[in-house]
Amino acid sequence: MPPTPPDLSHDEAQMALDAVEHRHQQVLAEIDVPGWYWWFLAAGWVAVGAGAQFGGVWAVILSPILFGALHAALAQRALSGRYRTGNLSVRRDVAGHQVLFAAIAFVIALCVVTLGVALVAEADGARHAGMFASVVVALLVLAGGPRLMAALRRHRARAGAA
């Protein structure tokens, strides 16, 4: 088999390379977390909020720890970004760590927002400020999580096109 065929034109080779790049981009578009992850995160947030609001001291301490442990166990695979659907597994070196880092930053931001909303609600005299804040943030998770991943996909597509 020759290293390069003598009869292959520049245009034919370029077309073949474009086809390869197009298929690579199709796989890049699959890098995302599964849809269930956002529902899991939102439900967990509300559960922790309810625990903090209505539970005793132990519930306030234990509910975030339990949720954190459950999250670490269940979400590790999801946050790799390699298994959006059961249709394919994106290679680790192709998927990178963008999804994981973005999700961690998102969760940290959610903690700050929860605290902020709870403090403002309490200062405003709300009876269940903690619960209110966790529901607000859960809605933010459902609306913002998929949008964050879509923004990452657009960023990857632009980086690939450049």
Binding site: M1, T4, A13, A16, L17, A19, R23, N87, L88
Partner: protein, 103 residues
């Protein structure tokens, strides 16, 4: 750096698309490739068989949740052939572009 090596088995557009999809993944479901390429089951099976006979991919059939699942993955030989082929294509493009520049 991968050594350029044109691969006539991979080069036809359908097979190139299949191998390019597989190259970015650990495995892919048969149905996903079929839908992305717009091929019939039989046409895709034929292409897979050709690549499997060459030792470029493996096909794993299993039953999960009462559904038959067919997972396809590139072998190390298939990945090396694909990398060599892409390097050969790039070499052709680079050569043509350098000839244009010198003219």
């Amino acid at each position: 750096m991968t050594e350029p090596r044109f691969d006539e088995l991979i080069h036809p557009s359908t097979r190139l698309s299949i191998v390019a999809l597989l190259a970015s993944t650990d495995w892919i479901e048969f149905g996903y490739v079929r839908d992305q390429l717009g091929l019939s089951d039989s046409a895709l099976s034929k292409q897979f068989s050709t690549l499997e006979e060459a030792g470029y991919l493996t096909i794993e059939r299993r039953v999960s949740d009462r559904r038959r699942r067919v997972q396809v993955r590139l072998t190390p030989e298939g990945r090396a052939a694909f990398d060599g082929h892409v390097a050969a294509l790039r070499a052709v493009v680079a050569m043509a572009e350098s000839e244009t520049t010198t003219l």
